[in-house]
């Protein structure tokens, strides 16, 4: 088959399938002869042991029972397919097995409240496992969104806590029975200890508070699917507008503007938060976007003197991008000296990252924080009673 027919076939809706015809038959005997006389040069490549095969029986205008189909398939034994697998028999005592029932029960399509970047149930459980979420532990997600990661941690018995900059997500959801709380209720899980609206760039933790979380699990908003936001307004951050004072009478219901939150800043804040707030041996588990480089050059992951990277698990997303789940363990207590070392590490990481962005390839436009996603909808679309697409900010 030429490439062209293959491409056209893939887009076709009415032409069900294109096949090369190796044999044509009226009766089974004729088919055998027909296949036998088909030129070897075109037949043999598909009969080799490195080529897999499957026989499917399809009919026009009639249905065959399963037994009839099997009979048809078995009648083709004269085709010399090379066997691919040798059959092996295992014998042993079962010691444990995976609870795959978790996944259908928690699958996203049956969850009430979802955002466009809600973490897939299986991945969320894997993340909770990496973080060693168990009973009596406190797990924090600084980018909680619809709570999909915390749901998995809660399922394993952990106490959960989440924060998000977007009040619509954490407080309102899509109604009284469609919000982060209801997602926990749906599975009979204990509610999060706390949900907060705050900016991870300017966290309101009291001074002296440290080593309180056992794990931090998150999927930070890097801007590939949902852009990160931080306090301060894009014009103020860019310096085109001087910081202004919000008038006294408007303060109560004022919705502060936010600006783009770059990957580098986001990672820095996350590592800083984790260094301070995780208990010793506590785990930081988060996704980090990477390019799949054909040249095989090594990816530079963010580093922090308090943390040891213990696992890097890649999830391939497309031919170009993948994301890696980084699992880090806190091995050094947080201190002023550590803070200085962390700052230097961060600067190096930042410089490399900026250089990479400046290369001006297609990837830089994906990973660079953009402003066209500015929350203009913040005040407007929220008053709109129709549940609109609110993707960007979840």
């Amino acid at each position: 088959m030429t490439i062209r027919t293959r491409t056209n076939q893939a887009r076709s809706l009415r032409n069900y399938r294109t096949c090369t015809l190796s044999g044509r038959y009226v009766a089974t005997e004729q088919l055998k002869d027909s296949i036998g006389s088909f030129p070897d040069s075109r037949k043999l490549p598909f009969l080799a042991s490195d080529s897999t095969f499957r026989i499917s029986v399809e009919t026009f205008g009639k249905a065959l029972t399963f037994d009839e189909q099997r009979e048809r398939i078995n009648s083709l034994t004269y085709i010399p397919f090379e066997p691919i697998l040798q059959r092996r028999i295992f014998f042993g005592r079962e010691v444990g097995f995976a609870d795959r029932k978790l996944l259908p029960a928690f699958q996203l399509k049956s969850r009430t409240y979802l955002g466009p970047t809600a973490m897939d149930a299986e991945m969320a459980f894997l993340m909770a496992n990496q973080a060693k979420a168990t009973s009596g532990k406190l797990v924090y997600d600084p980018f909680v969104g619809t709570g999909s990661i915390l749901v998995s941690a809660a399922r394993f018995g952990a106490m959960t806590m989440g924060a998000d900059i977007d009040i619509r997500v954490v407080r309102d959801g899509r109604g009284p029975d469609c919000n982060v709380w209801s997602n926990f209720k749906q599975y009979g899980l204990p509610m999060p200890v706390a949900l907060l609206r705050m900016d991870n760039n300017l966290p309101p933790w009291r001074s002296g508070l440290n080593e309180i979380f056992d794990a931090i699990i998150c999927d930070p908003p890097y801007g590939v699917r949902a852009g990160g936001r931080k306090s301060g307004g894009r014009k103020i951050l860019r310096g085109t507008v001087d910081p202004y004072t919000v008038p006294e009478d408007k303060r109560t219901d004022h919705i502060p503007s936010t600006g783009a939150y770059s990957l580098v800043e986001c990672v820095h804040d996350l590592l800083h938060l984790a260094a301070r707030m995780l208990v010793m041996k506590g785990r930081l588990v988060f996704f980090f976007p990477v390019l799949r480089d054909e040249n095989g050059s090594e990816v530079k992951f963010p580093e922090h003197p308090c943390f040891k990277l213990v696992a890097v698990s890649e999830q391939i997303l497309s031919s170009r991008y993948s994301r890696v789940l980084l699992t880090m363990v806190k091995v050094e207590p947080y201190s002023q000296e550590v803070e200085e070392a962390a700052r230097l590490m961060h600067l190096e990481f930042r410089e490399n990252h900026l250089k990479w962005l400046e290369e001006g390839n297609i990837h830089s436009s994906v990973f660079k924080p953009s402003d066209h996603s500015q929350i203009r909808a913040d005040t407007k679309s929220f008053k709109d009673p129709k549940p609109k697409y609110r993707g960007k900010y979840v």
Binding site: S135, P190, V193, I212
Partner: protein, 125 residues
Amino acid sequence: MRLITHNMLSCNIKGVTNGFPLKIEAEKVVEKEVDFNPDFLRHMFAKIEWKALVEAARSMGYAELPEDSPDATVIDSADETFLRKLHHALLELHLEEGALVCPETGRKFPVNKGIPNMLLHEDEV
């Protein structure tokens, strides 16, 4: 918002040095039963600012906590009377509607539907 959260938060407006503890202005307080987990409470107890918790519990109408922070023997003892009280104060009292007020500037952080809004305005960053 439960008091365990209140105990972790402060006002982080630029220039504020004494943003903790935030005063609680309670409009609506609800009690929700939560499973008792002594291990979790012992773990948390070490991190609690006791005075702030006692004060906060009082402003929510719960005055059963001792004025002075009990020592480790009380926490580790088999008698769970104290832990039960701590459990109730930390996890079962909810500030559903109200505000958290900065002790230094008087800035109010609103609490709606149990969720405190700690986001700062443009001129506070």
